[in-house]
Symmetry: C2
Subunit: 408 residues, 2 copies
């Protein structure tokens, strides 16, 4: 039997999806699984998007342009204009999800052995795309104690080597929900400019900012126009993860021409998804007002609930719909699997993503989990109750929740 | 400005799509372009597939399983069963087009510097995926004089080095339309077995076999079950290129588990496309009978027509819907661009794919073009007429078509 590639052997399993077989087994046993592991919202996709698909009059489902349909690209440029991001459709390449935008960007900008600095914890699949492109992720730690704020500029500077070619941020952040301030972005801008690095900014959660906070895009940073790559997606914005439509955005013409050659190789982004995504640009503002109101309440239910459990620490995020919690356990991988294999409470259990995979090396995330607050509030309350009960009875708990509760 | 990656700089522009800006300019001038450059059929997508999309009752367009919807994978396994390919749904991973299946396969099987032998001319984007994975394409030449038959086994053996890790074929072939015989496949099987190589078999044109010929799948070769990767797609079969649904198929469990980790990183294949593709499994046989009848007539119109033009050589393919023709010119890149920029006949011109990009190195394809017979017969007749006229007036013709015609 021929051997698997080195790259293939080292390719990490997704921490978000690797426990799926255990969840499937739990469901077969009759246990209901509360899915907090994956950013798959239960929010309805806007009617305008679904109606466009239902009423399309295509006779032949053709390839589109490799860069995506021009009408959609123009529509997107107008959408960005409303968010203070001034670009034209020529700065937009439509991709198969934000995932493909990340892959094209890494392939077009970095060579094997190049280094990219990423504040950690970070979206787990950044590790996977970096592995695919053969590049090295150099993490800069943001800690749960500071609510996962961007580390001081000095920490970045310490990590810069001749091999450093880029910085990647996710804003608002997955998994932490952290929202970067203007001052933090300007700090990054200065490093990027000084060392002539690429700045990749994953802004797929743009709309999901809470408590009156405003999202600031890396595309608005002056003086590094040719350095910035913005990654975007309709998945979360319109709750249509399955459409697999994203965008690779840059004002750097040479880079765009290069990314287009990668795009030509895979022919085109999905036609149906582009139809739905273009129509989704007409989603009324009221949709977002409602959705954001709902997420704020969900966040409060989940984060407040988690922080009432003895030994659990969970900063309150200002954006996206995730939080990272530290649990009174030794190993979240084992705990999350145990939840699915051995535990139930009122017929339910909870599926979470162990956070180790959201770090460049697993250790700092060993006791942490990522939770997505993408379920109704009642289900989130039940999830908190399940977790509290689970930590009370879990043989590997490092803090006795039962004892703590008895004491309080 | 930060530099583009080496990989990005070397990434070839698609020979199928790189002339698109010239075609767009021709259209703006009012010239109608006959698109023979791209395998985008004008055949209607089956009603069952489009109806499934129009009548879907999704409220939320969710991610699917990373390997694709289980019901679709089971349906596909049954479809393969009808084609003498015995597999289960666990051998099937749904991908975003055949393109993604090729990329996952190359990433999972080969490391940078590994060599893969491909009979040339080959599908141009194999070069691109190999470039993405950092692997070296080693071509084995099939010639227009033998109708692009598989070269003798001795030619393969000469090319095998310690770095050789695989062989990739396309059957029926794009761009040549060549259909491999059972004996040829068994020859390949012997080499694969002797050297323990991977055999990638791109079989996306399975249904398109003509003149009573039968398609033989690499999945039916005994003794190399763990070596074979089959690449498939719904794009051509159901004329739904824009759905972006393909499949990565192997009985090698370790390889499938590895490919699944790459698949998890990009989350899932497109949901809408999977719905259409699963429904398309119910396409009636009569659809294929009609479509194949039509392609045979188109092939005859195009290939017979081309061969009447002095100085043009075009073998008659037994499968797919492409042919490669050698033209009495010096450089097909220049000629194809000239056709779009300077030529028109009865208000039309022809767009073709210069064949140089379908070779590992451009030289052997310099005087060749790939033509896709995906247009109605009348349009193909007009395309032949255009080409004949173009070669008569083209300043760079190496054979004087006018003189040849006058003499005959």
């Amino acid at each position: 039997m021929p051997s698997i590639s080195q790259k293939g052997q080292r390719m990490p399993a997704s921490p978000i999806r690797k426990l799926v077989p255990f969840a499937e087994a739990a469901k077969k046993r009759g246990t209901k699984v509360l899915h907090l592991n994956i950013g798959q919202p239960d929010i309805p996709t806007p009617h305008v998007a679904l109606d466009a698909i239902r009423h399309m009059d295509l006779k032949v489902v053709e390839y589109s342009h490799s860069a995506g349909n021009e009408s959609y690209r123009k529509g997107l440029a107008a959408y960005y204009g409303k968010h203070d991001i001034t670009i034209t459709h020529e700065d937009v390449l439509i991709t198969t999800g934000g995932s493909e935008a990340l892959l094209f960007g890494m392939m077009a900008c970095f060579d094997p052995g190049d280094e990219i600095i990423i504040p950690e914890p970070f979206y787990a699949n950044y590790n996977s795309f970096a592995m695919s492109a053969g590049i090295t992720v150099v993490p800069v730690r943001s800690g749960i104690d500071t609510g996962f704020a961007l580390p001081p500029i000095g920490e970045f500077k310490k990590l810069i080597t001749p091999k450093t070619k880029g910085i990647l941020i996710c804003n608002p952040g997955n998994p932490t929900g952290y929202l970067y301030s203007r001052a933090e972005l300007e700090t990054l801008r200065d490093i990027v400019k000084e060392h002539d690095l690429y700045l990749f900014s994953d802004e797929v959660y743009r709309e999901f900012c809470y408590d009156g906070a405003k999202h600031e895009s890396a595309m608005t940073l002056a003086g590094i126009e040719d350095n910035v790559v913005m990654v975007d997606s309709v998945s979360k914005r319109y709750s249509m993860c399955g459409a697999r439509i994203g965008a690779f955005i840059t004002r750097n013409r040479e880079l765009m021409a290069t990314a287009l050659r990668f795009a030509q190789a895979r022919l085109s982004p999905p036609t149906f998804g582009q139809i739905a995504s273009e129509a989704a640009l007409n989603t009324p503002d009221s949709y977002f007002t409602e959705v954001i109101g709902e997420y704020v309440q969900r966040r409060n239910v989940l984060v407040d609930g988690l922080n009432t459990i003895p030994g659990v620490i969970c900063p309150r995020p200002k954006g996206a719909f995730y939080c990272v919690a530290e649990l009174p356990i030794d190993d979240a991988d084992i705990f999350c699997q145990w939840l699915l294999e051995k535990f139930e409470h009122k017929g339910h259990t909870v599926m979470m993503a162990p956070a180790a995979g959201f770090y460049a090396q697993p250790e700092p995330g060993r006791r942490q989990v990522r939770l997505a607050y993408v379920l109704e509030q009642d289900k989130l309350r039940l999830a908190v109750e399940c977790l509290q009960e689970a930590l009370r009875v879990y043989p590997g708990a490092t803090v006795s929740v039962a004892a703590a509760q008895a004491a309080s």
